[in-house]
Amino acid sequence: MTVAVASGKGGTGKTTVAVNLALSLEGPVELLDCDVEEPNAHLFLQPGWTSARTVSIPVPQVDERLCTACGACGEVCRFHAIVSLRTQPLVFPELCHGCGACLLACPVGAIREVPQEVGVVECGLRGEIRFVHGRLKVGTAMSGPLIRAVRREAGQGQITLIDAPPGTSCPVVAAVRGSDFVILVTEPTPFGLNDLKLAVEMCRILSLPCGVVINRSDIGDDAVRRYCASEAVPLLAEIPEDRRVAEAYSRGQAAVTVLPEFRALFRELYDRLHAAAAQRPVPAGRS
């Protein structure tokens, strides 16, 4: 089963939930940290690293001896990554999406593709837990290709947990698409509710079943609970604010390692998730 942990709003506790779930569940588990811009899960899980590789996207390189300056490449590029004026084409690799349009358009086969680094994928092990994350090269515009590279590392036959980036836009979609269930972590405040609604909408657009975890559940008001009830979104867990948990987090320690009684909470969360996922038939048109 693949479970993604996401959140409209940043800082609500996605990584906390993902890491503590990984540490609390029985059986083979893997955790994929897809927040490639700001990966944090490794700080808490502290895996022993086993491998690393760079990830690249293919960007065009023009053979100036073959180029006739016809301009076809520049005409088809939707992203202004390759520009052909009266001269030989200019390539702006940072704008390239790796779609191959220019390659296909070149009538003389003057374009080949060369790798442009976007970041690294690193794999590791913490006890029985397999860990993978991506780190985006600073200054790189797009996270999608690196997130997809992390997702491709997923194994078979275990629980795959995905720690998604915050928000609801395309990097989050790349992180959560195709999963079996999405946990949305929020806090009981106006900002939390506002962003939760966007996240639920995203799950509906992607036809992914979702459930809510309210973190720091006693700091705000009731509005999130009422929203979940009225929208029939299952409430999977409420985690009260706990200074000990916050301090452990600040030190880079997972709650369940410092306070083992929290394991039960996360196991219950997963049981409720499982029940909710089992009840919902898989909607048609799932991507």
Binding site: K9, G10, T12, E37, N40, A101, L104, T189, L206, R251
Partner: protein, 291 residues
């Protein structure tokens, strides 16, 4: 006219709450909420929308089923796994709009010309009035692409407003992370304030976002929110930030008034308390250094 941007690297450190207080302390200013993926500033500034614009960006490929003959060329060429069979037994293909990158390759190479390529509506943006001054903000549709163009649009409109209505400052609420949208919100800014928290993740993410600022040559400052959660960590992160060339402007204590203000749809400085006092001091230093 200068733009001051508040970002965080890691989400949830309190940048929107702090920026909202800066807005009140400024007297009157133009505001730009560039956290378009999860915009929250409007929840405490009660904007009255005076103008709404549709935001279009890029295109999406759409297969006309009546023209599709199921040859599969689109699926063969698509590098983003956006094309699949409709699965209704008709042998035709469909494109998943949430996976479509808008590159146009399938559109160009469909032997039947069966694929349309309309412009994509990704969201909307607004120009509103608030008690602190005009605000430009946006709502990106969930699952939409966030290239930074909407952020650039919001900033451009905010700058235009500042120029035409005689403001000398634009305060920008930036997004989390280090990608396109953040780059779009900080380039050309007079200064950036990164709000961090004394946690391992907060410190880690702060360093990445400060690296981004150095990469683009933008002067950066840092403040530590909820500093008393871990005073040792606070000192450590401040030290790292300073070594990275950032000015360290101050510390804000953990204060329930921050959430209380949000629940009342007000800003922290309008409520008062220890955090409010700290925010005032930090604003003075952030503002002052630019004069």
């Amino acid at each position: 006219m200068r733009e001051l941007v508040v970002i965080s690297g890691k989400g949830g450190t309190g940048k929107t709450s702090i920026l909202a207080s800066f807005a009140v302390l400024s007297g009157r200013t133009v505001l730009a909420d560039c956290d378009v993926d999860a915009a929250d500033l409007h929840l405490v500034l009660a904007p009255e929308v005076r103008r709404r614009e549709v935001f279009r960006s890029g295109n999406e490929a759409v297969i006309r089923p009546e023209l599709c003959d199921g040859c599969g060329k689109c699926a063969e060429l698509c590098r983003f796994a956006a094309v699949s069979r409709t699965g209704d037994g008709g042998g035709r293909y469909r494109i998943d709009p949430t996976a479509c990158e808008g590159c146009g390759v399938c559109v160009r190479h469909c032997p039947r010309g069966a694929i349309e390529f309309p412009e994509r509506v990704c969201g909307e943006w607004f120009v509103s009035d608030t008690r602190c001054g005009p605000m430009v903000h946006a709502r990106l549709h969930p699952a939409a692409e966030n290239s930074g163009k909407l952020v650039a649009t919001v900033r451009q409109e905010a700058r235009r407003l500042a120029e035409s209505e005689g403001f000398d400052q634009v305060l920008v609420d930036g997004p989390p992370g280090i990608g396109c949208p953040v780059i779009s919100s900080v380039t050309g800014a007079a200064a950036v304030l990164a709000v961090s928290e004394p946690t391992v993740s907060g410190g880690h993410d702060l360093l990445r976002v400060l690296e981004l600022c150095r990469h683009f040559g933008i002067p950066a400052a840092v403040c530590m929110n909820k500093w008393d959660l871990n005073p040792q960590m606070t000192e450590r992160i401040e030290g790292q930030a300073a070594s990275g060339g950032a000015r360290v402007l101050g510390r804000i204590p953990y204060d329930r008034a921050v959430t209380a203000a949000q629940l009342e749809a007000r800003t922290v400085v309008e409520l008062g308390g220890p955090a409010a006092g700290a925010i005032r001091r930090i604003w003075k230093r952030f503002n002052h250094n630019e004069e």
